[in-house]
Subunit: 239 residues, 2 copies
DNA sequence: GTCTATACACAGATAGAC
DNA sequence: GTCTATCTGTGTATAGAC
């Protein structure tokens, strides 16, 4: 699937979730007309991410948000009960979309190496389609209340474990050389995250998401190639 | 050089720079006795990093800092003229130590591949010895005033360019296969940064800085090995 | 040099009109 | 549903005593 098609799928999911947000947070959203909720929630989310990703969530004031959305402060508080509440909604929204999309994508792939490739591509595409959301989640993770924080952290580890398991499976199948899957999975995660954390940099250099995916997969597959000293834990001296 | 020796060198440099801070910021530091300045600046820097790295710099209040250092708010303002000023000092301090140490370390190494290995190790050791400083710089970069922000960004790109140049030199010398050095340098940077951004994770798994360095160097050197399709920009299908 | 006490601005949040 | 006006707490920064 091309990135273009992928993006469409994500946008649909996002709109659907904005609609469901009313159902998921009936206690905090005081507005009852669905169309209005969806329209304004999308405006609020977009504005909040724009401001918070530039100056940080804690530096963003409700007056900033009011100016950026065109809604008054009074109106804003009809969509969340506190600033902290808004933050929780943003995290929740991202989590839901992520889970939904990744499950769909991974169901299709077969065989460890193919599943590994699919997982890498899906994560990269997803972080491209929802860059502001991922950037926000990464940067604001430590400001979350403990409960929310735990959920975010768990998601992070879950992804890493998925990669580690796929690497281990590929090693068992003999398609990759024996290495420490856990540590390498952490490195893969780091490279995946760099894509959405430094997006401005890659955009300026005209690196596309597909090009980045190719490079990342090349790193992974070359690293996994059988080497004389692969199991000693030491690096080879010269090529 | 082992990490242990390296750490000693860094600590010396840090102390020296705390002493020099008085000379570098004579307008903002109102206290004149050098010993007092060094003692209290170290306390202030450590406390500020501790609080800011947990809750964010903008969420840290002067009252927090006062409680953590044991100094009154009035006393704090004898060491900087504003909160923003403190932030600039923190960034400045890190930049100075980094520049000083890296120049020393790199001067010793010869040959592109050896210089590459040295650079990777030095960056990793440095970020280990000054983890709170690097974490802070990364997370707070976007809250800096434009001028400071530019300096931080430039430093980031400078490092990346160093890696790209060393990769390119190694390719020219035939010790690494031809690849896109710029893009690969960005990936290396991402992996280096993960070490200080997720230190708690690696600590919990008992991954030492030396182990991480080995793994990272292995990724680099395996990726650079000659491959049939290395120059096509496409990945190979199977190992 | 360091303290206590305080000025002053601005934050988040709400009340009540429309 | 949305607005304007306002309450109240908390933030940065300073003045002046010791």
């Amino acid at each position: 699937m091309s990135y273009r098609d992928f993006k469409k799928q994500v946008d649909l999911s996002k709109a659907a979730l904005c609609r469901e947000a009313l159902a998921r947070h009936p206690d905090t959203i005081r507005v009852k007309k669905e169309a209005t909720v969806v329209r304004n929630l999308e405006k609020i989310f977009a504005a909040a991410l724009r401001i918070a990703n530039r100056r940080g969530f804690s530096a963003m004031t409700m007056r900033d948000l009011s100016a950026e959305t065109g809604l008054s402060m009074g109106a804003l508080y009809a969509y969340f009960s506190s600033k902290e509440d808004l933050l929780a909604m943003l995290q929740d929204q991202r989590r839901q979309v992520t889970r939904r999309i990744l499950e769909e994508r991974l169901a299709a792939a077969e065989g460890p190496l193919e599943r590994l490739r699919t997982a890498v591509r899906a994560h990269l595409y997803l972080s491209e389609a929802m860059q502001p959301w991922f950037f926000f989640a990464y940067m604001e993770a430590r400001h979350l209340p403990p409960a929310e924080r735990e959920k975010t952290l768990a998601g992070e580890l879950e992804t890493e474990t998925l990669f580690a398991d796929l690497l281990a499976a590929a090693i068992d199948a003999g398609t990759l050389a024996p290495r420490d899957p856990r540590l390498f999975a952490a490195l893969i995660k780091a490279m995946l995250q760099d894509w959405y954390l430094k997006r401005w940099k890659y955009a300026r250099r005209r690196v596309t998401v597909d090009r980045y995916a190719e490079e990342l997969l090349a790193v992974i597959e070359n690293y996994g190639r059988a080497l004389g000293s692969a199991d000693t834990g030491k690096t080879v001296d010269r090529a």
